[in-house]
Symmetry: C2
Subunit: 317 residues, 2 copies
C-alpha cells in the first residue's frame, strides 16, 4: 500500500478544493490501493472531510499548525516554519513515512524542498520539472524544464531529455518518445551556445530517439513528444501557452482542443530526478487539479518510475 502525502493547505482555494479533490479521486478510483496522508490544520479540514463520502480507512489527517504563504521566501519559510504543511510533507518523505508528496502551495518552497529535503537520484546532476503540452490529436507532449533550472549546462539538457523520455514512456504511454531540442532554427549548428553544445549530447544519447532541433512553432505539435530546453525558456513557453487559454475563455471561444489548454486539467507538474514522486500544483488549483495530481503520483508509484530512472542513470554513468 502506497502512502501519498497531500498538502491540504496549499493553493488559493485550499483547504476546500483540496478536500473536494481527495473525494473526487476516491469517487473515480474507489478501490485504489493507496492511503492518503492529508496534511493541514485538522480543525479546518476534519469537518470538511466529514461532509464528503470518502472511505474512512483510505486516509489519515496529519495536523500541521502552520502554513507557508504563497509569497513567502521559500528557503526562509521552510526553515522558520518546520511545522508548516510543506515542511511536514517533505519530512515525511525523507523519513520514509510517505512515498510521494503533492502540494499546490508555494512553488518555490516545493522546489527547494524537493531539491534539499529528499535525495536526488544518483547520476542526476539537476532534477527538473516538466509540464504537459496539449496537441491536436488529443495526446499530451512534455516540456522540460519549466522553471526549476533557469541557467543550464548542456549536460543538464541531455539529462532533462533522458528524464522526460522516461516520464513520457511510463506515464504518458509513448512506446518510443521522440525528443526534440527547442531551438531557433532546425539545422544542426543553429542556436545559442547552450543549444549548440547540447545538440551533440542529445544526438549521442542512446536512451531516447532524438529528432533534432524543433522550433517554437513545433511545440504544440507532434514533431516531438518531449521538448527540451532550459528552465527560463520553458517557463516563458508554459506561461504563454497558459495565457492562450485565458484569451480563449475571455473571447468566449468553445473549442475542444483549446479547452485542453486549461492546464489545471493536468493537475501539477512532476519533479523528475528526485528519489520520490513530488508533484507541484498550480496556485489556482481546484478539485480536479488535486484529483489529477493524486492520480499522477499514484501512477508514478505504480510504474516504479523513480526506480526506472535510477536504473537508466546508473547504467549510463
Amino acid at each position: 500500500m502506497n502512502h501519498i502525502a497531500v498538502d491540504m493547505m496549499g493553493g488559493d482555494y485550499a483547504p476546500l478544493e483540496a478536500v473536494k479533490g481527495v473525494a473526487a479521486f476516491f469517487e473515480a478510483y474507489p478501490h485504489a490501493p493507496v492511503h492518503l496522508q492529508l496534511i493541514g490544520n485538522s480543525q479546518q479540514i476534519t469537518p470538511l472531510l466529514a461532509g464528503e463520502n470518502i472511505p474512512e480507512n483510505a486516509f489519515s489527517v496529519i495536523h500541521a499548525e502552520e502554513m507557508i504563504g504563497m509569497h513567502e521566501h521559500p528557503t526562509k519559510a521552510l526553515k522558520e516554519k518546520p511545522g508548516s504543511s510543506i515542511a511536514t510533507g517533505f519530512r515525511m518523505l525523507a523519513e520514509g513515512t510517505s512515498d510521494a508528496f503533492i502540494s499546490a502551495g508555494n512553488t518555490g518552497a516545493m522546489m527547494v524542498g524537493a531539491l534539499f529535503s529528499i535525495k536526488t537520484i544518483e547520476g542526476v546532476n539537476r532534477p527538473t520539472i516538466g509540464a504537459y503540452l496539449p496537441r491536436e490529436d488529443g495526446s499530451l507532449g512534455l516540456l522540460v524544464d519549466v522553471g526549476l533550472n533557469a541557467d543550464c549546462k548542456p549536460e543538464n539538457l541531455n539529462q532533462f531529455a533522458q528524464l522526460g523520455a522516461l516520464f513520457a514512456r511510463h506515464i504518458l504511454h509513448f512506446d518510443n518518445p521522440k525528443v526534440g531540442l527547442i531551438n531557433l532554427g532546425e539545422e544542426e549548428g543553429k542556436g545559442n551556445l547552450l543549444a549548440q553544445s547540447a545538440y551533440p549530447l542529445l544526438k549521442q544519447n542512446p536512451n531516447f530517439e532524438f529528432v533534432g532541433n524543433v522550433e517554437g512553432r513545433d511545440i504544440l505539435t507532434t514533431r516531438a513528444d518531449v521538448f527540451v530546453c532550459d528552465g527560463f525558456t520553458g517557463n516563458v513557453i508554459l506561461k504563454l501557452a497558459e495565457s492562450i487559454y485565458d484569451i480563449v475563455q475571455r473571447r468566449n471561444i468553445h473549442d475542444e482542443h483549446f479547452s485542453r489548454f486549461n492546464f489545471e486539467m493536468y493537475g501539477g507538474v512532476p519533479v523528475l530526478g528526485v528519489s520520490k514522486p513530488v508533484i507541484i500544483g498550480h496556485g489556482i488549483s481546484h478539485s480536479i487539479a488535486f484529483k489529477n495530481m493524486i492520480h499522477i503520483a499514484k501512477t508514478m508509484l505504480d510504474t516504479h518510475l523513480t526506480g526506472k530512472i535510477a536504473d537508466t542513470f546508473s547504467a549510463s554513468a
Copy 2:
C-alpha cells in the same frame, strides 16, 4: 523623395506576390512621395509589373542576375553571389542610392547583410530585430530580440529596450511606451543570470519607463508595450505565437483577435540599430506583407527613426 529598395525575388511566392504588393502599396497610398527600386530578374518582373496599375515614375527596375535561395548559407551566399538581389540591395544602401531595403528572402543573408554591409548606429553594440505582438485592445506590442542575437549580455538587453522603446514611440505611436523584461517570475531578483543582471540596467535607464519583470502570460497583454529578451527566447516566443494562428485556422475558429495572430499582416520585422531601415519579411509573404513592409520602411524614413536612435544613443554614451 525617399528611395526604397525592394527585393522582388525573395520569399516563397516571389516575384508575383512582390509585384502585387508593390501595386497594393500604391493603390493604398497613390501619392506617396517615394520611389521604389525593384530589384530582381527584369525579364521576370517587367511583364508582371506591366499587368498592374502602378504609376510609371514611381518605380524603377534594377536587374539582378542571381538570387540567394532560402536555404543557402548566408555569409557564403552573399560572398559568392554579389549579383544577387539581396547583395545588390545592401550595396545600394551602402552606396547611398537607396534609403531603405526590404526583402522576404533568406533571413540569415538579410541579417548578415544588415550587420556587415551598412553601418551600425554609433553607441549600439548589437542591432536587434523586433516583432509585433497582437493585443486584445487592438494595439500592437513589440517583442525584441526575435533571433538576431541568440546569446546576449545584460547591456544588449538594455539597448534592445531602448531601441524598442524608440520604435514603439515613433512607429507604433505610444507616447510613453512601457518596457517589460521577460522573466520567469515578477519579483526583482528572479530569473536566469542574464535577466537578473539586465534588470538594474533597465531600471536605471532614463530613456523609457521600465515596468519590471513580465512573465510568459503577460506577453500577449498590455502589461508592457515593449517586451525585451534574448533572441533565443524571443524567437521561440514569436514562432509559438505564430503557430497559434495556424491552429486557429485549422480548427476553423473565426475570431477578430486571433485573426491578428496572422503575422503576415504586419509585413516584416524591422532591424533596429543600423543606420538605415532594413525590413526582413517572412518567407511565406504574400502581397499584403510586401505592401506593409514598404509602408513600415516609409514610416521609418518619414519619422527619421534612425536619426532619433542616433541622437538618443549619442546622448546616453
